[in-house]
């Protein structure tokens, strides 16, 4: 029986490591899937989601009262500029790291008019200027705009406003 001890302890050690690996990997894997899906049309560009209906299957538990615009960002080529064009009702810009953490939120009552932001990789220097800056803990992540739009008419208005949103490498603007 004593000869089996090392195998039992080995199995337990592997079980602990596998357990922790799954727990840590789950949010990164799920966020990675979301980043990949949202980035299918390209990184660093807004993608306005169709009005949320029963056919929406990209993000779990979507709220049908919002017009969502998502930008899968990649800071490989340096900081990016984010702009949310003004909306008459509630809107927010939220940023998510690769591990799913919501590390930054900007909403309509914190700005007048459009919401502007420079997104920089954590640990890197921000560009000169007095623009609002957020630091991303990961190279890739997701920026998400929520515009409150509970009706078809409101959604259409939000979709029109979204045309002026910007998510692009800083050098492009």
């Amino acid at each position: 029986m004593r000869g089996w001890g090392k195998y039992v302890w080995g199995a337990l050690a592997i079980a602990v490591l596998a357990h922790l690996a799954v727990i840590h990997a789950t949010p990164r894997m799920l966020t990675g899937i979301a980043i990949t899906r949202l980035g299918e049309a390209g990184f660093n560009q807004w993608r306005l989601a169709p009005r949320i209906t029963e056919t929406a299957r990209t993000i779990v538990r979507p709220a049908p009262d919002f017009a969502y615009s998502a930008c899968a960002y990649d800071l490989r080529d340096g900081p990016i500029r984010l702009r949310v064009s003004a909306w008459k009702d509630y809107w927010s810009l939220s940023l998510y790291a690769a591990n799913s953490d919501n590390y930054f939120v900007l909403h309509d009552r914190e700005v007048h008019g459009d919401g502007d932001l420079i997104l920089v990789r954590a640990g890197r220097a921000a560009p000169d200027g007095d623009a609002r800056v957020a630091y991303s803990p990961s190279r890739r992540g997701v920026a998400l705009i929520r515009r409150l739009a509970p009706s078809v008419a409101a959604y259409n208005g939000a979709a029109a406003a979204a045309q002026a949103d910007i998510c692009a490498t800083l050098t492009e603007h």
């Binding site: 596998a18 997701v142 509970p150």
Partner: protein, 196 residues
């Protein structure tokens, strides 16, 4: 020698399986321990937070990926009725609520797969901009496969199995204090197969 190798392979496989199974169990059954309960409503104040522990983060990622931080919005989920039974398409419920101390709120019904039910009823959500209160300062919504005469309706048609509700509270005011009394109350009116 071969026996030792096989023993280590078996240990690795068993250990790996145990680890994956225990992680799955922790996420599947242990999520309640990361949640606060207000009656049958569950809530995690860590939702979307950078300070969330790895377990909470994993649970949130599974159940509410891209959720907002508590500063911006609070999420409450309801998976069972007032008797502790899973919410069912076979039952008719009434959800009753009072004004919430918040800028905006909504209640959305989700099928078991965490997406809107495939029923084309356009009745997946009710929200503060469209709700009408009665003389008693309460709003009432029917949760059922058919609308009937209800002013407000959340359609459970084609959920087939368990469904759930999510209450979103945006920009909660300082006066907002989650409690069983403050959050909407669910009442089961009838279930198919009940004795008349």
């Amino acid at each position: 020698m071969l026996a030792r190798v096989l023993a280590w392979v078996a240990a690795a496989l068993i250990g790996g399986a145990l680890g994956v199974a225990s992680a799955w169990a922790a996420l599947e059954f242990g999520r309640a321990s990361f949640m606060e309960r207000y009656g049958a409503w569950t809530h995690s104040r860590a939702a979307g937070s950078a300070a969330a522990d790895p377990y909470t983060r994993a649970v949130i990622a599974r159940e509410g990926l891209l959720a907002l931080s508590a500063r911006e919005a609070l999420y409450f989920n309801l998976n069972e009725d007032e008797h502790g039974r899973p919410l069912s398409e076979a039952c008719v419920y009434e959800l009753t609520g009072r004004p919430l101390e918040a800028r905006w709120w909504s209640v959305t019904l989700y099928a078991r797969d965490n997406f809107l039910a495939r029923n084309n009823d356009h009745a997946a959500a009710i929200d503060a901009t469209r709700i009408r209160y009665g003389g008693d300062r309460l709003w009432r919504a029917r949760i059922a496969p058919v609308r009937g005469e209800a002013a407000h309706w959340l359609s459970s048609r084609n959920t087939h199995s368990d469904f759930s509700l999510t209450l979103r509270v945006y920009h909660p005011r300082h006066a907002f204090a989650p409690s069983q009394a403050a959050l909407p109350a669910l009442t089961t009116l009838s279930c198919a197969g009940d004795a008349p």
